[in-house]
């Protein structure tokens, strides 16, 4: 199959209203088959359909389609950097075009930290093919050998004569040429990069954001549009018994009250049901909803109470249903050990709280849905709307707005379907907005977890046994009713425990879900790594050795780990171990780097402590050192965070640093503040007053260093999160002698 196709005269031009005298290239994509389902969301495409388009037009503008969603990670800057560099475009002469939801792009699921990881190569090939055709066209015009030409600042230069032709002037000739074969493509040498790897590239949307000119999901405005908020079931699966809308309809501005279809579990990406209030503005809709009187049927999930559930999880850890990794004989090694250490860790249920809650606008007309939404997954939005509203996917146009944060919440298009249902029923454009309370009370939650760890230390002070039992409700329950054992989550920091220990056992207990469980930035790496990296530190103390030395020592020899050798099914984020090995040398390198940045081992002011943790996730390696202090009132403050990251080749170092800074804050929020609890199946928290996140006074100074690497690019958006919570708790131990094993720390009164 041809890897790149010339699609100059196809629908692309029509769709974007671009000139027809243009050179347009499409790229083929890697197959998405190997991505773990839970992480991939609904992967609707395993085909080699074109993914990204580059268009050069006669007016000398290089248009670059960004087919991934921008949610703060900077992808609307990073993708254009890759393509523009390879084609040789002047950064001032590019146009960034947001791709519609369309399977021709391959996967658009902007999750799993893989936009650059998966598309770096195809994007470069797209740029290179376009450049080579432009060079060919110029060489033919000049009657010189193509090797005497190069691309620079949106021109082709004849190096011997200094003659110059703009890209735009070559469009017509270039578009008549045949595409170079993939094997003939000449990619730029790393030393010639002028955008990739550079830190001085301004954000594509920076000025618009600073002046309030951007459009997020909440900001979409259509003619005659109506505004909707929905009263959703307080308990998952509760159906509407009856409702009285008289008072709601009496509110000025309320137009209509509409019952939504009930949810039948599994929840999938279906709307939750409930009653919608449609009004001529958001305020009237909110007031109308307050005035609704709804009676709900009971749901079996009303049995969900956090305190009891925690006990049940702890018991489940003692009766694991399935062993997921086993090496040697842990039971015997624990019997033989001179010292046995045990510890239990708890991380509560969490929610994303992106600053922009979910919002979608749908306009149903002539059998077609035109939709604008802050979605991470335009194709699963398209597919789910098509399925539930019984139309062909081609009749569902998903326009991706900017996302006011996503963190995994906006990978689930339930809110998009709500807008589609209402627009079809009411025959007007409808914008559905989730209030903050809706987002907190009716989310796709990060699973609550209980973990029990046990280790044996022998007479030579070596750790010889490692046993890790986990109970947490699975993401699978959202897709298959009653699922109570984790699946893909096990590859997120559980079975990939990298320390070199002779006897290892990882096992999971049952945990039935009572809310929709989803994935949240770095997913179960958060809790697994909190437990593992805290426990490793406890082992350092038991052994009486330095925390950092212990990490290096326990990683063992430099090697590439294949967990299959230890009877574990490890998915490696959908990548092969050949391309993305689990490399202990790289783990040690980030530990050494972060330690050096923090001056590990220096003497500290009284009440201060350093803590360290390292984790590989999304095929990138991050180590961090944290400095905390305790004041005389027993309150803890995080002063500095030093992060060393090895994410392979760094495409956009500036955005890598900002993602690490953001990850530190995201993790700090869950370490100190955030917790959801359920009572009789109802989530008790509402808004930022009772579901707290870090504020500016909590923010440490985060120092980031990126390890220079030519390895293929790895993930960036998520890998910064997992090591922070354990590093903080390890630092607190070193500062105070107190070991905290449950999050959030505010319950200990230390913030």
């Amino acid at each position: 199959m041809k890897h790149i196709e010339n699609v100059s005269r196809r629908s692309f031009l029509k769709k974007f209203g671009m000139s027809s005298t243009a050179l347009v290239l499409g790229v083929q994509l890697p197959s998405m088959l190997t991505i773990p389902k839970a992480l991939a969301g609904v992967t609707s495409s395993d085909t080699f359909s074109p993914s990204v388009y580059v268009q050069v037009s006669a007016d000398n503008i290089v248009s670059i389609v960004v087919h991934r969603s921008e949610m703060g990670q900077g992808i609307r800057t990073s993708i254009p950097m890759i393509v523009a560099d390879e084609i040789g475009a002047d950064w001032q002469k590019i146009a960034v075009v947001q791709g519609l939801g369309d399977k021709k792009y391959g996967s658009q699921n902007t999750d799993g930290s893989r936009s650059v990881r998966r598309f770096y190569q195809p994007l470069r090939e797209a740029g290179a093919a376009a450049r080579m055709m432009l060079q060919q066209a110029a060489a033919e015009q000049w009657q010189v050998d193509v090797s005497e030409t190069l691309a620079k600042n949106s021109t082709i230069v004849h190096t011997k004569s200094d003659r110059v032709l703009t890209f735009g002037s070559l469009v017509s000739a270039a578009s008549k040429l045949t595409l170079p074969k993939q094997s003939d493509l000449i990619l730029k040498a790393k030393k010639d990069f002028n955008l990739i790897g550079k830190s001085d590239v301004a954000l594509v949307d920076g000025k618009k954001i600073a002046t309030g000119q951007t459009t997020y999901g909440f900001d979409v405005e259509l003619d005659n549009m109506q505004y909707a908020v929905i009263a959703r079931p307080p308990v998952l699966g509760a159906k509407v018994k009856s409702f009285n809308s008289d008072a709601a309809k009496a509110i000025a501005g309320v137009i209509d009250v509409v019952q939504m279809p009930d949810l039948e579990e599994p929840a999938l990406f279906k709307p939750l049901g409930g009653v919608a209030v449609i009004a001529k503005n958001t305020w009237a809709a909110i007031k109308g909803r307050e005035a609704l009187d709804i009676q709900w049927h009971e749901s079996a999930h009303k049995s969900y109470n956090s305190a009891e559930y925690k006990k049940a999880l702890a018991e489940s850890c003692d009766n694991p249903a399935k062993t997921l990794r086993s090496k040697g004989n842990v039971t015997q090694a624990l019997v033989d050990a001179k010292q046995v250490i045990t510890a239990s860790y708890y991380v509560p249920e969490l929610i994303h709280v992106p600053m922009e809650p979910p919002a979608a606008t749908a306009h149903y007309h002539d059998g077609i849905f035109d939709i604008w939404a802050c979605t991470q997954t335009p194709q699963s939005a398209q597919g789910t709307v098509a399925q539930i509203l019984a139309v062909a996917p081609e009749n569902v146009n998903i326009n991706v707005t900017l996302l006011g944060g996503g963190f995994g919440r906006k990978s689930k298009p339930d809110f998009v379907v709500e807008a589609a249902i209402l627009s079809k029923q009411l025959n007007v454009p409808v914008k559905v907005m989730w209030t903050r309370e809706d987002e907190v009370k009716n989310g796709y939650y990060h699973a609550v977890s209980y973990q029990k760890l046990m280790a044996g230390i022998d007479e030579h002070n070596q750790v010889t046994a490692w046993q890790h039992h986990v109970a947490e409700p699975p993401i699978g329950s959202t897709f298959s009713k009653g699922a109570d054992l984790i699946g893909s989550e096990a590859s997120l920091g559980l079975v990939d425990m990298p320390y070199d220990i002779a006897n290892v056992s990882c096992a999971i207990g049952k945990a039935p879900a009572h809310t929709r469980i989803g994935w949240m930035r770095s997913v179960t790496n958060i809790n697994h790594v909190f437990a593992i990296s805290s426990f490793i530190d406890e082992l350092a103390q038991a052994k009486g050795v330095d925390s950092k030395d212990n990490l290096i020592n326990m990683l063992g020899s430099d090697r590439k780990i294949d967990f299959a050798q230890e009877n574990a099914d490890y998915s490696n984020y959908g990548e092969t171990l050949e391309k993305f090995p689990v490399d202990t040398a790289r783990m040690k390198a980030v530990i050494e780097k972060a330690s050096k940045m923090a001056k590990w081992g220096r003497s500290l002011p009284k009440g201060h402590g350093l803590g360290i943790a390292m984790h590989r996730s999304f095929v990138s390696y991050v180590a961090c050192v944290v400095e905390v202090s305790e004041n005389i009132d027993g309150k803890v403050k995080v002063h500095d965070v030093w992060m060393a990251v090895d994410c392979g080749l760094a495409v956009n170092p500036e955005r890598i640093r900002s993602q690490m800074e953001g990850a530190a804050i995201f993790a700090l929020s869950l370490t100190f503040y955030s917790e959801l609890t359920a009572k009789n199946g109802v989530i008790e928290q509402n808004n930022f007053d009772d579901y707290q996140v870090a504020r500016i006074a909590d923010a440490p100074t985060t120092h980031v260093e990126i390890i220079a690497s030519d390895a293929p690019p790895g993930g960036v958006g998520e890998p910064g999160v997992p090591p922070i919570a354990p590093a903080i708790c390890n630092a607190i131990f070193n500062a105070t002698g107190k070991r905290y094993r449950e999050l959030p720390l505010k319950k200990y009164g230390i913030v």
Binding site: K207, A284, G404, E661, I665, D689, V693, I696
Partner: protein
């Protein structure tokens, strides 16, 4: 009917006077640069200036706003070149950007009150603005930079 003065322009508002300014701006008058984040005065995403003071527009009824000057992010400068807006761009502060209208409006109000704030001043003035993306460190740096830029502008 209430006359609202927004960014120097007068608008006649004849809807529910209890409507918070946030929704009047966004839904009725189509100034969507001001954002919803919590609706309860907890996050600062909706911050605008009322007679130069930073105000959470989500908890400010329109009826209280006759005869005052309201400034939103769209009205901060004609060219997007207010020193705070410039500093924000110079340091690539934003991630998703959603909280940033509110951050910028709070920062401008701080600098008008205290042209040379220290870190503590900044933490106090900005503590009502949540950034879930975690841009706090750069917000702090950018406020310092904006203070310098503003001094340069005045000095020159």
């Amino acid at each position: 009917m209430i006359t609202l003065n927004i960014n120097g322009k007068e608008h006649q508002f004849n809807d529910d006077g209890n409507m918070p300014l946030l929704w009047a701006l966004r839904d009725t008058l189509k100034y969507t640069g001001t954002k919803y984040g919590c609706g309860k005065g907890l996050c600062g995403a909706c911050t605008v200036h009322v007679d130069g003071q930073p105000v959470r527009s989500c908890v400010m009824p329109v009826s209280a706003l006759a005869n005052v000057k309201i400034t939103t992010i769209e009205g901060l400068s004609e060219q997007g070149d207010h020193p705070v807006q410039q500093a924000w761009q110079d340091l690539n502060v934003v991630q998703c950007g959603y909280c940033q209208s509110g951050q910028i409006m709070s920062a401008v109000a701080l600098l008008e009150r205290e042209p040379n704030p220290n870190d503590k001043d900044i933490e106090l003035a900005m503590s009502g603005n949540i950034c879930r993306c975690g841009t706090y460190q750069r917000v702090k740096q950018a406020i310092h930079l904006a203070a310098d830029l503003a001094t340069e502008v005045k000095g020159s």
